[in-house]
Amino acid sequence: MKNILLLSKDHQKHIFVMMLMVLNVMIITPVFAQDIKISGVVNSEDNEPLPGVTIIVQGTTAGTVTDINGNYVLEVPTDAILDFSFIGYLKQSIGVNGRTTIDLTMEPDIEQLDEVVVIGYGTQKKSHLTGAISKVDNKNIDQIPTSRADQAMVGRVAGMNVQNSNPEGVGGAPTIQIRGVGSITGGSGPLLVIDGVAVDSEFWTNIDMNDVASIEVLKDAASAAIFGSRGANGVVMITTKTGESGKTKFAYNGFYGWQDVQNNPDYNTSVADGMAAERAANGELSPRSRYKELIGVDNNWQDIIFDGGNTQSHTISARGGNESTTFSTAMTYAHDEGVLLTDDFKKYNLKAKIDTKVNDDLSFGVSLNPSYTERRRFDGSTHDILRQTPWLPVYHDENTIQYVDRTVYPDVEVGDYALQRHFDNYDLDGDGTLIDISNTSNTNPAAKVLERDRRDFQFKLFGKFYTKYKLSDNFSIQAALSGDLQNTERQRWQGVESSRNGASGASLAVNNENKVHVVTQGFLNYNQTFGSHEFSATTGVVAERYKEKYSNVSGTGYEFDFVPTLDAAAEASAWGSFEREKRLLSFIARVNYSFSDKYLASISFRRDGSSVFGPDNKYGNFPAVSVGWRISEESFLAGSSVINNLKLRASFGITGNDQISTGNRLNDWYSPTALLSSRTAVVGGSTATAFNPQNIANPELGWERSIEFNPAIDFGFLDNIISGSVDYYKRTSDDLLLNVDVSGVTGFNNALVNIGEVTNEGVEIELRTNNIRTKKFRWTTTFLASRNKNTLTDFANSDGLIQSVDEKRAAEWISSVGHPISSFYGYVVDSEIPLEYLNDAYHPIGGQAQDVYVRDLNGDGVIDDGDKTILGSPYPDFIWSVTNTFTLGDFDLSFMFQGSHGAEVRNMGDQYLYNHFNSSQDFDPAITPDQEFIREKIFTNSIVQDASYIALRNLNLGYNFPSRLTSKIGMTSARLYVSGSNLMYIKGDNYTGFNPESLTTTSPTTYGYQRAGAPIARSIVTGVIIEF
């Protein structure tokens, strides 16, 4: 029975067994009362249609929500009782009694919050929740101009930190953390679950916000434990829209707009300013400076590289169906030109979902979501491109060509890219003295970007087939087969003019990645109500298989730029391929219980087996328990006009982590074993095969574990004028998976181990207020805030571990018990070296000394390791957002301010953009005093900078055409809106880079490293939503 879950003979046999089971149960199950279709309109007390009203069949979790016109359609048993509920309105229970139409007017009252919330492998009434689950309101999120759905999540959930960290322009993934960093393996982002199936985080780009019904974020371990091994960093669950029976509804949502960036004055240099500073200090210009002025060019490279761009998105959807079958289809095209030179992102997305009921008991459905994206990256990094000098033109013109050093560059013509070296060896004063002004041999910065073409072509497919069978009143069975597939081709073309080496530097690299993830799952659900006792239980098995194949080929030897194909290459210079496989097998059980709707409890258990661990540690157990008490349901509070909702809840759970990220993707999935990879060496004049050990085996390797305790209070006061929740949590993660630094004497620099313990402790507040609520004018405010403290509480032998990211720029991080997982480490700046001691303080323009005087902290008269100290923390301790929404008649306005405080970044950008490398900026050893107190700035707090920010994240102004107008042209609704992102962005005072959120991907023990970053796009779009 090997490989039972593959689509092999064994698998077929397995499916056969399952089918037999289903058939067997069908035979023994009696037929239940016939369902009828019921529809109606729900209005508010002032007879306005009420969208979003939840309608639940009592005693089940089945139900629906009214549409924008207050309409609903639902299939229910003839004797069903329907619960109608909506925030701010009294819940009403209506017996169907065979009727097919029930219209209803809701009466305002605020006692009920009976929304349905999606939880792991199921749903639950919001009022019965005992864990920390935040539901994100999709109101207007589909109007935010971001290229990816995850970027729109900024500021939506207390405790969820979304950073626009990607340095390669539009389409890049942000960094997401929920309740701080508990894992140190590199995989600290939350698990993404689409329609109940865990998928790769790449599928954020498959999500079309227009197609999202709800987003739930599972924050505490008790809620996430049902996802066991992958729950430790939280879970984001996205549920897509399902069709409703009735008239087919079409909708179009499209926006078009423009974006740019704010220039960063800290990194602006100009010939004019440079000359002015030198004149002011010295009274005259050096010959070099006079020459720079003479060339007559004063470029701001930021203006050239940050070129802005348009952004647009168009979605068409059709949803509908009949009594037995519903469908939901949508198509999206989006094109975001990014704000950097050359970056570009195109997305084509398709979605089709069909759900059908064969009879009262059997239903099945299928959902397919293919998407194709084409991303052109900004191939380079701002730190590298923008460090060039303002006197350099992009192309030579009639003026600049006259300065070219014809001895070395006889062939340069007008219109060619200008290189700094072209301007060397110039006889400025006609006296035979040749002047050099170049400070780099690099090619023109614009050429570096424009002559390279780096694209990712990605095809992704998410598919799910499920069947549900109702076995009895209490039992139902559900089986699903789902899969996600990613096919990515990455091409990197470096043209003949892209580097200083000309044709010999031209190359094409082609990488292919093929990832398949297949999930089979079967669940048995049980629901029972005995008097005031309400039970629901779920048990199931999930088996998952990940298979990934990688290959790459590079070609060199291009004489021309005309055909950037592998065929045009003279040589294949690099090639390789490998595949890897990982499997997970999970057993799941959960019981939810409520008594009288007042006393709530939930117990769950998951046992996960993962192939990535050693033979004795493959399985991990992840139990969770949570309880709740709805005090507001007690008789002593019933009818209180002050307190309309009050719930205490507490949860405890254990989650795990099997994400290993050592930088070697092959080893990551086979870490318990030492692997030998194939190599070659040249011996005896030809290449011979060698096998090289890749890693140090750790057969003991096992699960990383997180234990979390989360007491909380949910409240609603004064008819829900004020409502919200406060959560306290403490998560302790131990047996952390760390690719720890080891002595090179072992033959390796790293070894993968389970080590240490880290805690994240914090408080989250969600506060929603209905400030003004009149018939014509409404004002609501949502305030979300979270505080998190990350502490390394045990690090065994590695306590005090000092690491660096880049051996060439070995700035240090320390992992020290009592402090966060990683802290910036180094010397403290005492003072700058006075300019008169530098070799040439005014060359290159904008240059700064790479060295600085540091403090003798321990006062022993020498600077050594004893003078290093912790310089800051890369983790924010306070993040918040405030969203205000105003509705005035047909107009509405909402805007969100969002901020992050307490984190620092190590901005290596300073070293590049201030030309620290240049020897002109070195101190003169002959005259500089106290040289023993001088250290390089990169080893000090000089480049440890405040990463705090406050942003006007988004703003949305909309006008909804009145229905009397839209109905005349056959529309059910129409909305016109203007939406903006990051229209205001305030950075910390001492931060010099482009984006305090930017992060270079490093290990969590060397977190917070950036090289100036890619700037945050500021965008404004206008859009329209039409439904008909």
Binding site: M1, A543, G609, T687, G744, A810, N918
Partner: protein, 485 residues
Amino acid sequence: MIINKKENIMKNIRIIALFIFAMHLYGCQDDFLSPAPNSAISADAFYTNDIELEAGVVNLYDGIQGINSTVTSDLHGIQIEYQVTEMRSDNTRTKSGEGEAAQFESYTVEATNGVVADYYASFYNIIFRANTILANLENASESKAAQFEGEAKFVRAYAYFNLVRLFGDIPLATEVIAPTDEVTAFTRVATSKVYELIVSDFNTAIDNLDNSYKNRASKAAAQGLLAKVHLTIGNYTIAQELLEEIITSNEFSLETNFKDIFYSEGNDETIFAIGYAADNSNDSQNFSAEWLNSVGRSSGLNYVTSDVRAAFATYGGTMRSEYSFRLDAAQTTQYQVVKYLPNGDEVLGIDPTSGDPTLAGNDWIILRYSDVLLMHVEAILAGRDGPITNSDALASFQAVRNRAGLTTLVASISKQDLADERRVELAFENHRLFDLIRLGLAESVLGAFATANGFSFTANDLLLPIPQREINLSKGALSQNPGYN
């Protein structure tokens, strides 16, 4: 009603039983959670026969060859050796005096220097590869065991010889060690102990190997390197015997044309060289490109000092000067090394070795016959200042001079004569620093060189710092070399 309820319960039990049965089907798949890797071999079941051990032995040379990349965390092996040797001598420097590489020429090497850490880790990785072979020798057939042992010990001795000369007292791993073995990793063993292992390993290699290869360990390579070890620790008589065995074997000879040593690979002068293949990122090297003007990642490393050009003018002769360095066409105040050019030189009649200079195919010579001849002179000189007139020494010395076109008969040889001759004959082949130290000239020569160039030099600069990374990991157990903090 009662019957109904009972039926219902029975049915529910049946449902649960079926489901448990189904779950059981999933659970019984033990090997489901143990997929075998298809793209690599598990080391547990490797090195079991000659073929597998042979692949492990080839891997030794892959380690010395190093990875051709600009990724700082990769182990670059011998490809970065010129920075920690030649650029610390009076022969070469960076072109621009900028960046981390400039720490070497200015004797301001920091313990955080990435190249030093790279070299240290690379050579201990080579030692690990050798120890892996030695640990599995019992699986070799009788006919191959001696060869595998000889090659592994040769490579291990070679790696330790470089490490001990660069770092002084060093950790000594004589078998594969686990990360938990911090005693071995963080205990510095006296150089004399390290040399004991080196001598013993090279002797095993001499006993077990023949001269079948130039890109792999051979008897002559072991003899030559062991002779250099003995010259370093003052055993001149043993050194002389070893060198004379190579000379009298008549298996090696000087190339007539100095250029052909470097551009006619596999020639008779080469005793041991690390092989590279062009335009192939797995087996090429990039140091050749780094030595040019902004062709590699740097703006130009291992540029020729005026000091060594003066030495060439005095002692080198035309042919050696011509094929050792040239004017930088892009910056006509600077000079580049001509040995190991990746993209050729039309004037000198040197063809490119690769299409992409950063994927160069030039082999790196570790030992060649003229080195053996000059070591022979050194052994006879036996630590004296000279001059000596020993005819064997004169014969070896004259042979090297004759090939360079300097046929005037030499009547006597002093230590200084030998140092000067070695400098111009073996310039830019990573010998100069070790020669100066071995001949006891380092402090005076490099001190004067540093002063002339505005640098500050002390005897402490003759050893590299133990990488800060290792000091940090040892939490102070590893002591630093004097003069570094």
